[in-house]
């Protein structure tokens, strides 16, 4: 399946026109305090498979996760009955404040224990499997004792959660942090990959390294060519995993997103066909 991230400005259009798209993904935090949007979402959920992708469950926070938020999420999930529920390998709350970003974790034994406990709590509360997405990374910590792929793999092994592999994040993080994105994908356990994401990023000058370029995960541009190539590699390695194209800022007309999803479907078909042909 290839689908789109469904944002509020497109919600009414999707509900009214039912365009051809295989599935859609929503951020529940846009709906939990918006009964009008939820009403429309329930209409959409009767016509399309829906995935719920959380941005507000801070599974990497040293402090407890917000169980009230999880309970609100549970009520929405029960109403929508999504095909997948996912979140991020990140943290966003500290000292009672929600920092509205997906902040980086040190990859340490303590962080792994914390994330493991929180993923288990979320899965227990929701009564279903949770998928965890690899982050877009600009900065890390000298205290890390393992790599991101190892951390994610271990988290999946300990909790039974699966991995949402954001292919654009792999490309972006590899560029920013200086590693090979293909090798990163090859280190992830293929059986644990439950979903793929694609999104656009924006190059910026890297202020601390004159002449160098930094990639910022803006979700405000079309998917870059190197990411389509990496996506094909991911499909050959992980199989026909359902994919979502995300676009959050400078939102284009719905038709543009649908074209990107359509291209994802075409890349998938071509990658899997050539992979099967090579295997024959």
């Amino acid at each position: 399946m290839a689908g789109i991230g469904l944002r509020l400005p497109h919600l009414m259009e999707i509900a009214a026109t039912c365009p051809p798209v295989e599935w859609v993904e929503i951020h529940p935090e846009n709906f939990l305090a918006n009964p009008h949007a939820t009403e429309l979402l329930l209409e959409v959920s009767r016509r399309y498979p829906v995935s719920v992708h959380t941005v507000g469950i801070s599974i990497g926070s040293a402090e407890e996760i917000d169980l009230e938020h999880v309970n609100r999420l549970r009520r929405l999930v029960d109403a929508v009955d999504p095909v997948l529920v996912s979140g991020h390998l990140a943290w966003s709350t500290h000292g009672g404040a929600y920092l509205n970003d997906l902040l980086p974790l040190p990859y340490t034994a303590e962080a792994l224990r914390v994330a493991t406990d929180h993923v288990r709590q979320v899965q227990d509360a929701l009564g279903r499997e949770y998928l965890i997405e690899n982050p877009s990374t600009y900065v890390g910590f000298s205290t890390s004792t393992m790599g991101e792929a190892e951390f994610l793999s271990e988290l999946a092994a300990r909790t039974g959660c699966r991995i949402l592999c954001d292919v654009s994040n792999v490309h972006l993080s590899g560029h920013n942090m200086g590693y090979d994105p293909y090798e990163f994908l090859d280190r992830l356990p293929p059986g644990a990959i439950g979903e793929l994401h694609l999104g656009g990023f924006t190059p910026e000058d890297d202020d601390a390294s004159p002449g160098a370029e930094l990639l910022v995960d803006t979700h405000a541009t079309p998917i870059a060519e190197p990411v389509w190539q990496l996506y094909a590699h991911a499909l050959r390695r992980f199989g026909a995993v359902p994919t979502i194209v995300e676009w959050d800022n400078d939102l284009p007309p719905l038709a543009t997103l649908l074209q990107e999803a359509s291209r994802a479907g075409a890349v998938r078909d071509q990658a899997l066909e050539s992979h099967h042909a090579a295997a024959r």
Binding site: L32, H36, E39, H94, Y98
Partner: protein, 261 residues
């Protein structure tokens, strides 16, 4: 090794308060990890300030976008969100904005921004099925006085000491008159706004006191008593009938045993 909680405290200081001295030695990535962490700081400030500014467009129209924008930048440092649903973020902004030195000459600003907050909140609401007179007939007359009523989620009651409803209507109509006089005037408003629709209605003082009291959870008799104090000619029976006729009533609960309609 630095405990995770302490590391996250230091990152929060860097992101919210722009103080990265404590976290800097631990950062890796690029030529300078602090510059990279600055991407998160920029995202925090830009995304939240934008959310606040977009929540108060009429206030920006009235007070000037620079004043509201500067206040929003300061607000996100002083009042980070406590919950991940940004639709719930910004309720304290009107008071914060009005307390700024550069807003000192605009005494009506807080009330106007509060009015805009309520309108924005209601625009996300939906209506529930309304009770009819027949639904109330199962309640014994002797228990009516203690009845608690629930009103539609798309209604709010706002009291302002100026004719701010007229100002808001001008903003919403997108037409600027040659002249507008803001009058010292007690204005009591009922706002309804489900699914983005908006009705602003001025209420008589006693009716406002009654409906606002009912919405706050006062027992029917207490709300009616308060309304009578506002206007001795207040008609409690008529006021209850009009709540039903306006489709505002969604539940009625008598304390004690069986009374829910």
């Amino acid at each position: 090794m630095l405990p995770l909680a302490e590391l996250q405290h230091r990152v929060r200081q860097a992101v919210v308060a722009a103080d990265d001295r404590a976290i800097a030695p631990l950062l890796v990535g690029g030529g300078d990890g602090r510059t990279r962490l600055g991407i998160h700081r920029r995202h925090y400030h830009t995304s939240l300030a934008t959310a606040v500014i977009e929540r108060f467009p009429a206030t920006g129209w009235l007070a000037g976008s620079a004043l509201v924008s500067d206040a929003a930048q300061a607000f996100v440092v002083a009042h980070p969100p406590s919950r991940p649903c940004l639709a719930e973020y910004g309720e304290e902004f009107p008071a914060f904005l009005a307390a700024r030195v550069d807003a000192a000459g605009l005494p009506y600003l807080r009330a106007f921004a509060d009015l805009e907050w309520q309108i924005g909140r209601l625009s996300l609401a939906v209506t529930a099925p309304a009770l009819t007179l027949a639904d109330l007939q199962s309640i014994e007359p002797s228990r009516l006085a203690d009845l608690s009523l629930a009103l539609q989620p798309d209604v709010a009651y706002v009291h302002a000491p100026w004719n701010l409803d007229e100002l808001m209507r001008i903003y919403l109509s997108d037409r600027a008159p040659d002249r507008f006089v803001l009058r010292d005037e007690d204005v009591r408003l009922e706002l309804r706004g489900a699914r983005g629709g908006l009705q602003i209605t001025r209420l008589e003082r006693a009716v406002f006191v009654f409906r606002e009291g009912v919405q706050r959870g006062q027992a029917l008799a207490d709300a009616a008593m308060a309304a009578c104090e506002a206007d001795s000619a207040f008609d409690a029976g008529g006021a209850l009938s009009s709540l039903i006729a306006d489709g505002l009533l969604t539940a009625a609960r008598a304390p004690g045993k069986d009374g829910e309609a």
